[in-house]
């Protein structure tokens, strides 16, 4: 018990320090405007946009994994059902934070909902995000309702919160449980197309429709977005599940971890295949801008983010672990692989956003050069720490685990 409180204190301590640094960076950004970034009119999008699509992807991936449980009744993954929904909600919150600080005029963020250009993918995205976040919250609520009612009977602040959230309802009958399950199935079913076509496919589409950037301008792009979302979401949930179980001193369900690793391997291969087509078809067209973009990714000043982060750490090492006869049996190795996959997908996001904006749209216009400033890095770190902080508070305040698990833990 002692060591666990010390661990908790250290964890909060680290998060508070990171959030303080991030807070300083965000204040700098508000005071100095976008001049504090290394963005230019040639490369107008950078780290914050990369992080934004990274978190939208994590959210969509986590949510789609949750539908396997609540819609397709794959009970072997039940232990991570609510976790998946919680991660999906918090990832969206972070994505919105990132896109907010990226706006040239932050104080006008509400214009995005007030005015609606029907032909703008971005305008549709904003609305999809709102609907999607509402849907996720409703789904998380109904997945917890039974346990909230049980928790409301206790004492302490969690119980008070539970009483508030259940509106004093004490309906624990089988009929109400069934109703909750049916609602979950309905919400999940609506959520699938919303998440695939609206939220993350849509985020891919907003890049794909930019015809000025041939590298993005392909029908495969939205599909790759969705697949890489599944990759990153599955990897993150696997890692979170194992780390949390270990911290709380619980038994890790090795079979589920291995099954998730199998799923992750499948998604990774699909993602790789699509990625290959993306580059191959693009390069085969011999179009100047496309070739220059691919060249920038392969040989530019930050090509290490492609070869080392995206491919080596994000694909080669994890696949090696998943196929290695001894390592694939080790929960720790699998968890390491999953964390590497998440980092790899962050590399993917950077390599999507930046290189296509380094190459000039017309031959003869200046080339861009972009690497994030300290303010950009620290603010990003701070926002991520804020997300981890919210997550830690949420798993304390809400019955994210199923009750049987809680019993096992005690």
């Amino acid at each position: 018990m002692k060591s666990s409180t010390r661990l908790t204190k250290a964890w909060y301590g680290v998060l508070v320090i990171l959030m303080a640094l991030g807070g300083w960076a965000i204040i700098e950004r508000i005071r100095g405007g976008l001049a504090v970034t290394n963005l230019t009119s040639t490369t107008p999008w950078g780290a914050w946009v990369a992080f934004y699509i990274f978190f939208v992807g994590l959210s969509a991936g986590s949510f789609l994994l949750s539908t396997m449980i609540f819609v397709f009744k794959m009970e072997q993954y039940e232990k991570i059902g609510r976790d998946a929904l919680l991660v999906a909600i918090l990832s969206m919150v972070l994505a919105m934070c990132f896109i907010l600080i990226d706006l040239g005029r932050m104080e006008r963020f509400w214009h995005a909902l007030r005015y609606w250009n029907f032909t703008s993918i971005l305008a549709w995205e904003v609305r999809f995000y709102v609907v999607y976040i509402g849907l996720l919250m409703a789904e998380l609520y109904f997945s917890m309702r039974q346990d909230l009612i049980r928790a409301a009977k206790g004492s302490g602040w969690q119980a008070a919160l539970a009483r508030f959230l259940t509106f004093g309802s004490t309906d624990l009958t089988a009929a109400s449980k069934q109703r909750d399950h049916r609602l979950l199935k309905i919400l999940g079913s609506i959520g699938i197309p919303v998440a695939i076509f609206g939220v993350h496919g849509g985020t891919g589409t907003l890049f794909a429709v930019a015809k000025a950037r041939p590298f993005w301008n392909s029908g495969l792009f939205p599909v790759i977005f969705v697949v890489s979302a599944l990759v990153s979401g599955t990897a993150l949930l696997l890692a979170i599940y194992v780390i949390r179980s270990k911290v709380m001193g619980r038994e890790v369900d090795k079979e589920m971890v291995k099954s998730l690793a199998g799923l992750l391997t499948l998604f990774l291969f699909i993602d790789l295949g699509l990625e290959f087509y993306e580059f191959f078809v693009g390069a085969y067209g011999l179009q100047y801008t496309e070739l220059a973009t691919i060249e920038t990714i392969f040989r530019g000043p930050f090509s290490w983010s492609f070869w080392w982060v995206q491919l080596f750490l994000g694909v080669v090492v994890p696949l090696f672990i998943f196929f290695h006869p001894r390592l694939k049996e080790s929960v720790n190795a699998i968890t390491l692989a999953a964390i590497l996959v998440v980092i790899g997908i962050l590399g993917v996001r950077f390599n999507i956003v930046v290189p296509a904006l380094i190459v000039p749209v017309l031959p003869g216009l200046p080339w861009g050069y972009y690497y994030p400033t300290l303010v950009e890095w620290l603010s990003s770190l701070g926002i991520v720490a804020f997300g981890l902080f919210l997550y830690t508070v949420a798993i304390k305040a809400l019955p994210i685990d199923t009750v049987e698990e809680l019993r096992e833990g005690k």
Binding site: L34, G104, R105
Partner: protein, 213 residues
């Protein structure tokens, strides 16, 4: 400004000498901050020695009839005016820069809030009356800082019955400006020339800036 006019520009590349006077005049007219030039002159070298030539392509905003920027702007801050000019509403723009990413001509710039106050006394005291709107002093946190900016055919000058600054100052007289709706206008006749072409035609943007080979 009668709205039956459709403004267009024709640029004769044979007459352009690559002197950049248009770029300078544009900066002076619109008092654009550091890093923003509504008009630039792209230089290209063609051929293999000894048969080489230099081409200069002045590049203002193309005021496309099918503008990619207008298509993607989430809040309709950038829009097509009756007279063919693509305008930006500085008071609505949220600075998301999606239009910069989408413009196939690189004609849009983001105003990061920098200024020439060190090089030039009183730079921030007054701003150009872009779109015919007087915005007073250039101050932090006030539009157009944090917005996207671009050439608008010097709309404020058109309202006064003048030509765009770049057309007026062109040394080689390479730029022609006029009404494409009038079949008798110089630009209409030049636009019908076999020498006429537009940049990035395959993008389907239908530019209103037409070049002569």
């Amino acid at each position: 400004m009668s709205s039956d006019k459709k403004w267009a520009m024709v640029i004769d590349l044979q007459k352009c000498i690559g002197c950049d006077t248009c770029t300078v005049a544009c900066k002076a007219e619109n008092r654009t901050p550091p890093g923003i030039s509504y008009n630039v002159v792209i230089e290209e070298e063609k051929g293999i020695f000894p048969n080489v030539t230099k081409i200069h392509i002045p590049r203002p905003c193309m005021q496309c009839d099918r503008p990619a920027c207008v298509q993607v702007c989430p809040v309709k801050a950038t829009y097509k005016m009756e007279n063919g000019i693509v305008a930006i509403d500085y008071d609505r723009c949220i600075g998301c820069r999606y239009c910069i990413v989408s413009c196939p001509y690189g004609a849009r710039s983001f105003d990061f809030g920098e200024d020439y106050s060190r090089e030039m006394i009183g730079y921030n005291e007054v701003q150009a009356p872009e779109y015919g709107i007087d915005r007073g002093k250039r101050e932090k946190g006030k539009s157009p800082i944090g917005n996207v900016r671009k050439c608008m055919f010097c709309y404020h000058r058109l309202q006064r019955g003048e030509e765009p600054a770049c057309v007026e100052v062109c040394l080689g007289d390479a730029r022609y400006f006029g009404d494409l709706n009038d079949p008798e206008s110089v630009v209409s006749k030049l636009a019908a020339s076999p020498r006429a072409f537009v940049l990035q035609e395959e993008m389907g943007t239908k530019p209103r800036v037409i070049y002569l080979k």
